[in-house]
């Protein structure tokens, strides 16, 4: 035995075995090395001994050695060179499996040295007679591009790839397409990052030669398009997905082409791979814009529904991805599943994430015709055990009531039945929901107020309390013992959360304005308490404003505090129209699953104002389209401000509602984005309202964040939360409203006060 450093231990034993003269023993030892690696032990020390076993006729052993190399080549860049010779030899092996294996492994070693030896075998393999080798080699080009783009340009690999798109074998076509799109995406990233990023290996490389052809690396022309459409019908399911992805990025030249694409893609709806179906939906959603033939449009809409419904029978995770995408589709085309609400009924054993998504979709599909069935179903859910789900079901009832006027009465009926169950969380949720119903249909269901007040004692959650207080304040003139009820909250004023304090304050002021005689005492008390004992500046400020308003001009106070607010409505979309368009073009991707643009979660996960601006100047045509949309959006925002209603349809608010709480940090990003979005035409207007616009979005963003800890809501669940804020924000908004409408008198008074 020669001198080997440690003469004991497992690695020593393995080393001996790896050098054994018996083949069986060596094979066994390699297996053990791999097993050790898998459980996390470091086996890099055995490198030379393992590599010795590379030259073998045993395919399995070869695979294992290759596997070892893939994992440890980077740790031993000096020694990898030992293996290169065998690799190159293997790429000329008579067995195509070995050739493919060698080229595949060699291209992932990720060391500078081996790359140079890779070029010539790779160009040979790209032209191999065996399609299995060709399809493997095609992907290798993408791997090489990832490491050293110049090499690909130098050897013309990218042109070869483009030739492979016309290959006779569908699998090769699919992989060539996949590789090209991957390279395309990678090159976009390279051109974005500053030049210094390219020479990461320390070598001062020439400024990226690849940077130039980047923009045109992978463009489909009409002849390629027809090749793709043919290959689409012949390739494996995964190949189809790759082709469909590419088709979705293709810009059709004219109507005829759009129509052709739609016709050729539609049969893919019948595929049993959910990703193929969604891929086909994506292509259709992109190209349907160019379709003009009425009959074709009809056929497409008719044929799209059944496959979407079938996706609901997939395994839960696939189902969820499908549901998120369906939710998005419905925001654009609510008609496609209009008659299919029943398939979204929750199953008892559905995982919670599926149930929540289904609830949301059911509300979207609710209409006059199916509302009775839906309510029956929601009532059933409200008796389940999962607290979170029950709350969401109750909330859904409120949304249905707000959405469908004719059903509001039945909804209220069901909610009252639920309140009678006296299950604490159901009652609290129902109170919150009824508050929203009052905001939509003021003075319609006053008869339920006594029942609500009877449950006063049972409310212990701030949001529910605040809701009930708001109701009492709003209808103070009709509730005989309103002062008594509010007094009850006033007693515990100091211990309450700010949300409840604000509501108590406003409600009592309302009461005073409505019944000045009986409430004199109580209003004094609340103003005292709010200005003296309260440590929230919001509460204090509001109390001061009320105080001065009341003392200087009660009429102005009346017009501010008791102003009639417009009814709320259920937003059609959870994202702004421009983003919805973008997401629909990315159906089945993570962006469409998260319901937010890719730029918000890839990279650092933050989208600065700068980047936003850069994106805007990307392509001429895109800009003009986006600008139009932005103008519309900014218009909406401004309108909303004028309405003193921070409906979730303002981008910032909607973003915060639709966002899962995991990335709460993103809310701010989104706000930046939405602020930058409000471009020129309305800038002045925005400036005018800048104070208001700052104050308003900050409210909803803060409320859900606080509530998330306790409520844990995503998606529409957050709605009610946002709806909560208007009453609290109303004084501030009220001010700006006075300005906006030019009610000079009140305006002067207010300014005079300060």
């Amino acid at each position: 035995m020669s001198v080997a450093p440690p003469r004991k231990g497992e690695n020593y034993e393995l080393r001996q075995q790896l050098n054994s003269e018996y083949r069986e023993k060596r094979a066994d030892a390699i297996k053990r090395v791999i097993a050790n690696h898998t459980i996390g032990k470091d086996c890099s020390g055995l490198f030379p001994d393992v590599v010795k076993n590379m030259q073998t006729d045993d395919l399995e052993q070869k695979k294992l050695v290759y596997l070892y190399l893939m994992n440890y080549a980077k740790t031993q860049p000096e020694l990898v060179i030992l293996a290169v010779n065998t690799f190159v030899k293997d790429t000329a092996d008579p067995n195509p499996l070995v050739r493919a294996l060698a080229i595949r492994t060699m291209s992932v070693l990720r060391t500078e040295k081996t790359l140079d030896y890779l070029a010539s075998p790779l160009s040979k393999c790209l032209r191999d007679e065996n399609p299995y080798v060709r399809k493997t080699a095609a992907l290798c080009v993408a791997k090489v591009f990832d490491l050293k783009p110049e090499l690909c340009v130098e050897y013309g690999f990218i042109d070869t790839l483009r030739d492979l798109v016309g290959d006779g074998n569908p699998m090769v076509v699919a992989n060539a397409i996949t590789a090209l799109s991957d390279i395309h995406e990678a090159s976009l990233r390279i051109s974005e990052t500053p030049e210094s990023a390219v020479d990461e290996d320390g070598n001062p490389t020439t400024p990226p030669t690849s940077a130039k052809p980047n923009a045109h690396l992978f463009l489909i022309d009409p002849p390629t398009l027809s090749k793709l459409l043919v290959a689409l019908n012949e390739c494996s399911e995964w190949g189809r997905i790759a082709i469909l992805n590419t088709l979705a990025t293709y810009k059709a030249v004219d109507t005829e082409e759009s129509e052709q694409i739609c016709e050729r893609v539609m049969p893919q709806f019948q595929h049993n791979n959910a990703a193929v179906v969604l891929g086909a939906v994506k292509v259709i959603m992109v190209h349907i814009k160019g379709v003009q033939r009425e009959d074709l449009l009809k056929i497409i809409t008719r044929k799209m529904a059944p496959p979407l419904v079938t996706l609901i029978s997939s395994p839960p995770e696939v189902q969820w991805v499908a549901l998120r995408n369906i939710n998005l589709l419905l925001q654009k085309r609510p008609d496609i599943l209009a008659n299919e609400m029943r398939v979204f009924f929750c199953k008892y054993n559905d995982p919670p994430y599926v149930k929540v998504e289904k609830l949301d979709i059911m509300v979207r599909l609710a209409s006059d015709k199916n509302v009775d069935t839906l309510l029956g179903e929601l009532k059933e859910y409200a008796s389940e055990v999962d607290v979170d789900f029950v709350r969401k079901a109750v909330r859904a009832m409120g949304q249905v009531a707000i959405k469908i006027e004719s059903a509001a009465e039945r909804c209220v009926g069901v909610l009252m039945e639920l309140i009678e169950t006296r299950v604490s969380y159901v009652v609290q949720e129902a109170v919150i929901v009824i508050k929203d119903i009052f905001r939509k249909y003021p003075h319609s269901y006053e008869a339920v107020i006594p029942t609500l007040c009877a449950n006063l004692e049972e409310l212990d959650e701030p949001e529910a309390k605040a809701s009930l207080i708001w109701i009492i304040g709003e209808y103070a003139e009709k509730i005989e013992n309103a002062d008594e009820l509010l007094g009850h909250f006033l007693d515990a004023f100091k211990e309450e959360s700010y949300q409840v304090q604000l509501q108590t304050l406003t409600a009592i002021v309302k009461l005073f304005l409505k019944k000045p005689d009986s409430a004199q005492g109580i209003v004094q008390k609340v103003l005292q308490a709010a200005t003296k004992d309260c440590d929230s500046p919001d509460v204090r400020d509001r109390a001061y404003i009320y105080w001065r308003l009341l003392s200087s001009d009660p009429a102005a106070a009346k017009s501010v505090v008791l102003s009639v607010r417009p009814p709320i409505s259920l937003p059609q979309t959870t994202v702004s129209p421009a983003i919805l368009e973008e997401l629909l073009g990315e159906i089945s991707s993570l962006a469409s699953v998260y319901h937010k643009p890719a730029a918000t979660f890839i990279g650092k996960g933050r989208l600065g104002a700068e980047e936003m601006a850069k994106r805007a100047t990307d392509v001429e045509e895109e800009v003009s389209r986006e600008k139009a949309l932005q103008t519309v959006m900014a218009g909406q925002q401004a309108e909303n401000l004028l309405d003193f209603d921070d409906e979730p349809s303002t981008p910032a608010a909607s973003a915060s509602t639709s966002r899962p709480a995991t990335d709460r940090g993103l809310i701010s990003t989104q706000q930046i984005a939405s602020v930058t979005k409000s471009t020129n035409p309305l800038d002045e207007l925005m400036d005018l309202f800048s104070t208001a616009s700052m104050a308003v979005p900050s409210q909803p963003a803060g409320v859900p964040a606080a509530a998330m800890g306790s409520g844990g809501m995503g998606g529409m669940g957050g709605m009610g939360m946002d709806l909560m804020s208007p009453p609290s924000a109303s004084p501030v908004a009220g001010q700006s409203a006075q300005q906006g409408q030019g009610q000079k008198k009140a305006d002067d008074d207010l300014l005079g006060l300060f």
């Binding site: 696939v318 398939v343 199953k347």
Partner: protein
């Protein structure tokens, strides 16, 4: 596109992993479970895909395992999630059970499979029959080195050439699963039929098959007067061997089948179905002492059919104990792990009905939690019968050698995953008798 695929145990420890790209370091695998636990703690919905710190985590669950894929890009989530399910089924076919132990015992072959099924993060071949042809448990020796089967890259990627059978046979199973939901007042709220045509093909060569069904759309388009009933399939999904464009054009189902067993097509009908097996239960609950059930079952189908292996799951409170059962037919067992008792009836004749009674003790100290309102679920199988009335009209087989073959067709109706009745009613609101 996935940068990395890993299989984790229930504690979030990686059992095996394969990194396809360098952009996501493997250390992120360890962050997965803590993230999930954090979300659960904060009462945030844990969804199959989520993003943290610029990394996207996509996962599915299988038994006690997590199959996890990581990516940095705006990946095709549908593709990856579906791929993970495929990976699951391929590994299950290889090892019978996919669990911690079978993974530990088969590192080597799983690595090989992971390499063959995905390259640079893109799914490649997931057809387990084809994989089994060149990735096997036995090592290959010099004389017979494995080669990639033609099928891997062929247009017909699911069938190898040169298959020979002495006796050429085809078995067709038409299986219809019924999902329905009956509400507390006994009305069917939702129902659907999920049908599947499963084949077992033992045919030589490269046969061309054509399957004819009593498909209403086809009858109408060919103008053929339909003899008997024609059915209207709402959505049809095919195995990748079926030529989709051909079906789109003239509703012909034509294909070259894979060898052996596979599912040729599945379809869905949302026509209303009446519950084939009707069950209702009335509960008499005496809080703090006992609870009594009376369950009725009725076979609502033709007298000459029988439902086999009927199993009725009736939910009971979690803390029920000392069960007593009395059934006029079949046997009853208590399944505390499911919080239910199961009434098993070997054969239930059409039009027959039976009754059983159950009695449970309840602890005198009631736990505060609410009763779960789980519904009744039922399992059954009715052979020689399909609810929709679908029929195989013909199966034409064309092969160059012109052999004779024997097609066999079998029909069966059974419960789906979601055959649910909410028909549990309180017998009467019982009053608590104060103990003296």
């Amino acid at each position: 596109m996935a940068s990395l695929i890993a299989i984790l145990d229930v504690k979030g420890k990686s059992l095996i992993q394969r990194s396809y790209r360098d952009d996501v370091p493997p250390s992120y695998i360890e962050r997965f479970l803590p993230l999930v636990l954090d979300m659960e703690e904060e009462n945030v919905q844990v969804t199959p895909c989520f993003s943290d710190d610029g990394i996207n985590y996509m996962h599915i669950r299988h038994n006690n395992l997590y199959l996890l894929a990581l990516s940095k890009r705006n990946t095709n989530a549908a593709e990856i999630i579906f791929f993970l399910h495929r990976l699951c089924s391929v590994l299950t076919e290889y090892f019978k059970e996919l669990e911690e132990e079978s993974i530990r015992d088969n590192f080597v072959i799983i690595y090989e499979l992971l390499d063959e099924m995905m390259d640079f993060g893109f799914p490649q071949t997931t057809e387990s029959k084809i994989l089994q042809e060149y990735i096997t448990q036995e090592s290959h020796k010099l004389e017979s080195q494995a080669r990639p089967p033609m099928a891997v890259t062929n247009a017909v990627s699911w069938r190898s050439e040169g298959i020979r059978y002495r006796k050429n046979e085809v078995f067709l199973d038409v299986v219809e699963s019924i999902n329905l939901l009956v509400n507390a007042s006994g009305n069917v709220v939702r129902s659907e039929i999920l049908g599947a045509v499963k084949m077992k093909c033992y045919l030589s060569g490269m046969p061309e098959l054509r399957l004819g069904l009593n498909d209403k759309v086809m009858f109408e388009s060919t103008g053929r007067a339909s003899r008997g009933k024609a059915i209207e399939m709402e959505d049809v999904k095919f195995h990748q061997c079926v030529r989709l464009s051909r079906f789109e054009n003239d509703r012909t189902i034509s294909f070259i089948p894979p060898d052996g067993e596979f599912e040729l097509m599945s379809y869905r009908l949302s026509q209303s179905v009446k519950p084939l097996v009707w069950v209702e239960a009335s509960v008499e609950s005496h809080r703090g002492s006992r609870v009594e059930y009376m369950v009725k079952v009725r076979g609502q189908f033709k007298r000459r059919s029988t439902a086999n292996n009927v199993e009725i799951f009736v939910p009971v409170p979690d803390d029920a104990d000392s069960p007593k059962f009395r059934a006029s037919v079949g046997s009853v067992v208590y399944a505390p792990e499911k919080s239910a008792f199961v009434w098993k009836i070997k054969q239930l004749g059409g039009g027959r009905d039976y009754i059983m009674r159950a009695h449970f003790g309840l602890p005198s100290v009631r736990n505060e939690e609410l009763d779960k309102r789980a519904p009744i679920t039922v399992k059954f199988e009715i052979p020689y019968f399909t609810v929709s009335g679908i029929q195989v009209r013909y199966l034409k087989i064309v092969e160059k050698s012109g052999y004779r073959e024997l097609p066999w067709v079998r029909y069966i109706s059974q419960n789906g995953d979601d055959y649910v009745l909410r028909t549990i009613t309180d017998a009467k609101t019982s009053t608590i008798v104060a103990p003296l």
